[in-house]
């Protein structure tokens, strides 16, 4: 037992080191090269210098946002994969992203963003995702039994419907609108205001704290629903609460940063291969790894062909996917992965 807690300690420390490394790399890289050694002296000199504002007004907000969204999305992934006992489920499977995309497309095509610049897009995205979650939820509480399979199917279908509606909107919209919708869909951490950054940050950390209270119950749920009930868990209530947490995380991330795919699918999967099924470690480590991964991908996205910035969703997909395929193809890891 001592061994287990020490293992967790080392894994969590490793995840934090990974996260900090990603933060520092992100802080020092960019078109204006600032070496690591100078960061502290720039900070001490205080406001006023151009380097200070590059570091703390441009790069730091992105890092905080990347932390909150990367962590939040992979936490939502851990929760949903644990709940559905299906490693292919991700935060976007339940149609939350589709709803947000629909909300944003409507907002752009109805030109609402001209009345309320900055605020309109995130808000409509959030309303869109809320609407979808409520629809999925409502369709399910109608029935007496809250089965996960049914929930999954409803989510996938709602997701299809909303993405078809987005296609419909795309097909009838004009070029400049098309461009802004497509760019939003690809996802980016650029230019949200501090208010949004802090909201996402707080929500993300609160959800991490909340979901930790479910970690033991999620361990039991991984044996199956009946087994979990036999171990004294009110699975109906727990599933609803977990679904709400995951939806809130996904909805708020998507509405601020657009569709950043893959983090919520790959990071939990990857962490599960490395540290095992136990949610008491899995939740924390996935959060930190997801945060570090997204910050790292964002750094690449804004530096690789600068001054042009790539959509970060493209980088997460290419990088995450290839790392994962490489790991799966290595035999020793595959055996460990089999167990998960």
């Amino acid at each position: 037992m001592k061994k287990k807690t020490t293992n967790w300690f080392f894994s969590i420390s490793a995840a934090i080191i990974f996260l900090l490394t990603a933060c520092i790399i992100s802080l020092v890289s960019g078109s204006a090269g600032i070496p690591v050694s100078k960061i502290i002296s720039i900070f001490l000199e205080g406001k006023g210098t151009a380097e200070y504002s590059i570091l703390f007004d441009i790069r730091l907000p992105r890092i905080i946002l990347g932390f909150a969204i990367g962590g939040g999305l992979s936490l939502a992934g851990v929760i949903l994969q644990g709940m559905f006992r299906n490693p292919l489920v991700e935060p976007y499977t339940l149609g939350i992203s589709g709803g947000a995309a629909l909300g944003v497309s409507l907002c752009i095509i109805l030109k609402l963003n001209q009345f309320l610049p900055n605020v309109a897009l995130p808000l409509s995205g959030f309303f869109g995702s809320c609407l979808v979650v409520l629809a999925v939820f409502f369709l399910h509480t109608q029935k007496r039994v809250f089965t996960v399979e049914g929930l999954l199917l409803t989510g996938v279908m709602v997701s299809f419907i909303s993405s078809s509606l987005v296609m419909l909107i795309l097909s009838i919209s004009r070029t400049e609108e098309l461009h802004s919708i497509v760019f939003w869909i690809m996802g980016s951490l650029a230019e949200p205001s501090w208010a949004f950054i802090i909201t996402v940050f707080v929500v993300s950390l609160l959800c991490l704290l909340l979901s930790y209270f479910f970690s033991l119950h999620m361990n039991a749920l991984s044996l199956g629903e009946e087994e979990a009930i036999h171990l004294g868990i009110n699975t109906e209530r727990m599933k609803k609460q977990l679904l709400l947490i995951a939806s809130l995380l996904t909805g708020i991330s998507v509405s601020v940063a657009g569709l950043i795919g893959f983090v919520g699918l790959i990071v939990p999967h990857f962490v599960r291969i490395l540290v095992g099924y136990d949610h008491r470690a899995l939740i924390i480590i996935s959060f930190f790894c997801g945060a570090g991964f997204l910050i790292f991908c964002d750094t690449i996205a804004r530096t690789i062909i600068s001054p042009i910035e790539l959509p970060v969703g493209v980088i997460t997909g290419i990088l995450g996917g290839s790392i994962f395929v490489y790991i799966l193809s290595r035999k020793s890891f595959f055996k460990a992965g089999d167990r998960s």
């Binding site: 037992m1 807690t5 970690s215 044996l223 171990l231």
Partner: protein, 265 residues
């Protein structure tokens, strides 16, 4: 211990148990037998509140089970069910899951007491030598023992088992049932067990409940229930009932169609 009072329940509109009344006393070892689909497993599921009764009540130590929450129920009743999840966890971790009903809201790590109870359960079931092996890498006999160890870790007063000997060879069948008997005799654990094998049921149970089409056909000591007439009526099969020369309990032999035809000639 547990009293089932005029219970009717089922799945959706299909009624599986029809007006069942059954009482199980503290310290008893009761076996439920009956053909497939006669409602054996459904009784178990009703007791653990997996399905809600349509009419009737189940009392656990005098308390209506539907007024207990799942956690309280799990502290009193442990279940060894038929479903075998293949899990990537070690035996020790799996057995420790049995302590979940006892954790308080702000507890995330097992206490020394939890560890000692789990350790003791693994010693009793002889799983301690396998504590670091993975559940997914063990034979079905070992998995069954791990399930029983987890059930013991729950410190229940009632143990429900749903065909714990299915798919096991006779060594493991006897091993598992001897273990359950020991728990029953030494620790006073009340046992309710569903068994398909009539001979095992006859050897191990103090009392048998014979189910037929959602109703209790007969209940009593094995020699009272396992008679030629009862079995032929419920199972619709020709059998021979003899007495085990050592234990004096009845045992049931089947007769194949070919042999039956030979006899008729």
């Amino acid at each position: 211990m547990i009293r089932i009072d005029h219970l009717t329940c089922g799945y959706g509109s299909k009624i599986v148990l029809d007006n069942i009344t059954l009482e199980i006393h503290k310290g008893e070892f009761v076996g439920i037998i009956g053909p497939n689909g006669s409602g054996k497993t459904t009784i178990m599921r009703a007791i653990t509140r997996l399905i809600k009764p349509i009419t009737g009540t189940i009392y656990l130590e005098g308390i209506n089970v539907s007024s207990l929450d799942y956690k309280e129920l799990a502290q009193k009743i442990a279940v060894v069910s038929q479903n075998f999840p293949v899990m990537a966890m070690s035996v020790r971790e799996f057995v420790l899951l049995g302590r979940i009903p006892y954790y308080n809201k702000f507890q995330f790590l097992e206490s020394e007491k939890d560890l000692a109870i789990a350790e003791n359960a693994m010693v009793m079931t002889d799983m301690i030598k396998l504590e670091d092996s993975y559940m997914s890498e063990m034979s079905s006999g070992e998995v069954q023992l791990a399930f029983i160890a987890r059930a013991i870790t729950q410190e229940p007063s009632l143990l429900l088992l749903d065909e714990p000997t299915a798919h096991l060879d006779i060594t493991h069948q006897v091993g598992v049932l001897d273990l359950i008997k020991r728990l029953n005799r030494q620790y006073g654990l009340t046992v309710l067990i569903v068994l398909h094998d009539l001979n095992l049921a006859s050897e191990y149970c103090d009392r048998l409940v014979l189910m037929n089409q959602g109703q209790i056909e007969n209940t009593g000591r094995p020699e009272e229930v396992l008679t030629y007439g009862n079995i032929e009526k419920v199972y619709n099969t020709v059998v021979v009932v003899e007495k085990n020369p050592i234990s004096g309990k009845p045992f049931v032999l089947v007769v194949s169609e070919e042999v039956k035809r030979k006899c008729e000639r």
